[in-house]
């Protein structure tokens, strides 16, 4: 594997913070920290502003992390609008249909021992991996420009 093992510590710390956020939201308010669900909910069924408060906290924390240099700000800066739009549509549609995403199903759903979430996680992992494979290597002689 071509990974630098020393970089695992911030990865685990980041994961632990996500878990702490989701866990404390659950224990304090009973709610599920599925970010896609919260975004969908904020747009379609706003409930006393808790969704906006959570999203605001999420964005502010990210902003602070990026501006302070704590987190790398590489990423989607050079992405074309078309790619963002297509991926965004797929993510929005997919999470709306399946009621969840990597945080909702992958962390909260699995923490609830949900078979539904396990099925969802396995499915999106497979299609995520398959998408990367097809784009990278083509399929049956057909290739697409990623």
């Amino acid at each position: 594997m071509t990974v630098d093992w020393a970089s695992f510590l911030p990865v685990l710390a980041g994961g632990a913070l996500i878990g702490l956020a989701a866990g404390s939201l659950r224990l304090l308010t009973g709610r599920i920290a599925g970010i896609s669900g919260i975004v969908h909910g904020a747009l379609r069924r706003p409930e006393r502003g808790w969704q906006l408060a959570l999203l605001a906290g999420l964005l502010v924390a990210g902003l602070i992390a990026g501006m302070s240099g704590l987190a790398s700000t590489e990423g989607l800066a050079n992405t074309s609008f078309a790619r963002l739009a297509i991926a965004g549509l797929l993510v929005g549609l997919g999470t709306g249909l399946s009621n969840g995403c990597t945080s909702g199903h992958g962390i909260c759903g699995l923490a609830n021992f949900s078979c539904r979430s396990l099925a969802a996680v396995c499915t999106f992992m497979v299609t995520g991996i398959a998408t990367v494979f097809v784009v990278r290597h083509g399929i049956g002689g057909w290739r697409c420009r990623a």
Partner: protein, 84 residues
């Protein structure tokens, strides 16, 4: 999770595989798990709210189809170009 390079490294299992994203999710799950178990046992949240359950409990085409579509969008975004 927002770094396309990190996501691509994780999803490209036939390439130079980078498992770190799994540790983000795994680490998150490990930490969240005790909170979820405690909340389930309590039945109510600390601030008194109801403990919300999942939207439904059936594994149907809508769930799997939605998850499949989400995965495609996720995999597609992983190819966002790195900063020059």
């Amino acid at each position: 999770m927002i770094s396309p390079a990190r996501v691509l490294g994780f999803l490209d299992i036939t390439g130079a595989w980078d498992p770190r994203l799994a540790f983000v999710m795994g680490g998150g799950l490990l930490v969240a798990l005790p909170f979820y178990v405690i909340t389930r046992r309590r039945g109510t949240a600390l601030f008194g709210g109801p403990v919300t359950g999942p939207a439904s409990s059936t594994i149907d085409l809508r769930l799997l189809g939605g998850a499949a579509i989400f995965g495609m969008g996720w995999g597609w975004l992983a190819f966002a170009p790195a900063p020059r």
